[in-house]
Structure formats: C-alpha cells, structure tokens
C-alpha cells in the first residue's frame, strides 16, 4: 500500500480540524467573566473588557468604582476606614471587594472554567 493522494488529503484535513479546535478552545479562555455590583439592594452588571468609571450612591455617601485593563477596584469612597480601597484590584472568578459601611459589594462572576484549581492523578 503506497501513500495515496487521499492520505495527504486526510492528513491536511485532520491537521486543519486540530488547529481549528485548538484555536477556538484557547481563544474562549480570556474574559468570559463580568463584575456584579450590589449596592443597597440594587444589582448592576458590567463586563470587565470595557474601561469604566462610575459613582454609586450608598447610605453614607458616594463610592466610585473603576474598571481598567480587565480589573475592577474601588478608587474613592466616603467611608471612614477606606478598607474597600485597600483591598485593591480584582479580576479572578470568585474574588470580591466590599465596602460595608456603604453597603456595596463587588463580585466577579462568569463561567466556572477559568483556571485549574487542583490537578491530581
């Protein structure tokens, strides 16, 4: 059985299928998550891809959030201890930033296949 034309065709088609599978699988990996902001009973949802600065009104004053480079953080707040600002930027699924005096909570949500937690054989 010498190598035939159909073999070369199958070789190329198979390779194309594998490349297509790999590219589509690995591309979807980035940024399918979004930020969910809860303040005093209201819920807002923002995608992390788009940069954004927004101010929310809470029980004790204003809290400003910022989305930049796929990360979200609280930049300004009227609360006393400023713990929410010190919590820094978050971008991973399940992380959260809260400003308790102002009743504001930011969580990252999305598809749960972001990263591998544990691998065990």
């Amino acid at each position: 059985m010498p190598i035939k034309l159909a073999d070369i065709a199958i070789f190329i088609i198979t390779l194309a299928i594998i490349v297509f599978y790999s590219v589509t699988t690995l591309q979807k990996d980035s940024n399918s998550s979004y930020a969910k902001i809860e303040i005093d009973g209201n819920t807002f949802i923002y995608p992390l891809e788009k940069d954004l600065i927004k101010t929310f009104h809470g029980p004790i004053g204003d809290t400003t959030i910022e989305i930049k480079n796929g990360k979200i953080s609280i930049t300004e707040s009227d609360c006393k201890n400023k713990i929410c600002i010190k919590m820094g930027k978050i971008d991973k699924l399940g992380q959260a930033v809260a400003c308790l005096p102002n009743k504001l909570l930011i969580t990252i949500e999305g598809e749960s296949n972001d990263e591998v937690d544990i691998l065990s054989y």
Binding site: I3, K4, L5, D7, I10, S22, D29
Partner: protein, 174 residues
C-alpha cells in the same frame, strides 16, 4: 504463522489471533512509562488496522470489543470511567475507519485510516469527558489531539510497512 494460510476464510481464527495480539500490545503499552496521563502511543490499535484489510466488516467490530474489554482488563481499568471512554472511542473510531475504507476503497492507505481513527477516537473521548467532567475537559483535548495526530501518523506508517512486508498478509490477498 504460515500454517494459517490454510484458513484464509475462517475469520474467527483470525479474530482470536489479532485479539491476542491486541492484548499483548496493550500490555507492552502498559509497561511503557507515560509522562502525561491519558496520552499513549496506541500500538494496541495496529491489529485493528490490520483487520480492516483482512477481515469482513462485522468481524472488525468483534475485534474492537475484544480489544476494549481485554485491554482494560490488562491495564486494570475495566470497572472505571476510563473503560467507558475507551469503549466508546474505539467503537466510534472503528466505525468511521470502516466507513472511510469502504468510501475510499483502494484510494487510501493505512496512514489515512489511522489518522481518521485517532481523530475520531480522541474527539469522542473529549466530548464524553466534557459531558461527564464539565466544560474544563476541553482544554485537555488540545494536547491529546496534537499527540494523537503524531502517534496516528506513526502507527499508520508502521502498519503500512507491516502490510507491505509481511508474508502472512501476502498470502491473504485474494
């Protein structure tokens, strides 16, 4: 081996010999150290590729069942999820290899058939793993497909050479 040439139409005998070869090669495969789990060479599939040339189509499926059940017995996976993956992958790839060999009769060598078998087997297992383990399993599919492509080509070339040189096979040719 040459004795067999007097039984070219008795396919049960050939099934048992090729089945035994499958189990032997499964054992060899089990001995070879694997740096990454789930990734293996697939030398146990060589008898199945050979059977596509010398056995009637329905007997190929019998051989695939023997290979799946026997091979899992050898590697100790018979009563685990891995057996389900192996069985469905083998059956789907067997059926598609038979279809390709009917469709492209004489226009395709073992390399093409082996590549189709490797691709369909791996895709079936990835699909099943995604259904059972969740969507994260599809990332594991990328290295498995790439290595399956390489080993599929290798096994195809190996079987091609075997079919060209084996006196045993030459005596089957009608």
């Amino acid at each position: 081996m040459t004795k067999l040439t007097s039984y070219p139409t008795n396919s049960n005998r050939i099934i048992s010999i090729l089945g035994g070869l499958c189990l032997f090669l499964s054992l060899i495969e089990y001995i070879i150290p694997k740096p990454i789990p789930f990734i293996k060479l697939g030398i146990a599939n060589i008898p199945i590729l050979i059977s596509i040339v010398i056995l009637p189509k329905k007997d190929i499926l019998k051989l695939i069942l023997i290979k799946s059940i026997g091979g899992s017995l050898v590697s100790g996976n018979l009563f685990s999820w891995i057996f389900l993956y192996s069985l469905s992958g083998s059956l789907i790839s067997g059926i598609s290899m038979i279809l390709i060999s009917i469709l492209l009769n004489n226009k395709v060598s073992m390399i093409g058939i082996s590549l189709i078998g490797s691709l369909t087997s791996n895709l079936t297992q990835i699909l099943l793993a995604t259904a059972i383990l969740g969507p994260g399993a599809k990332y594991l599919g990328v290295p498995i497909l790439i290595i399956g492509f390489i080993s599929g080509t290798f096994i195809g070339v190996l079987t091609n050479n075997f079919l060209n040189k084996s006196v045993w096979i030459r005596n089957f040719n009608k």
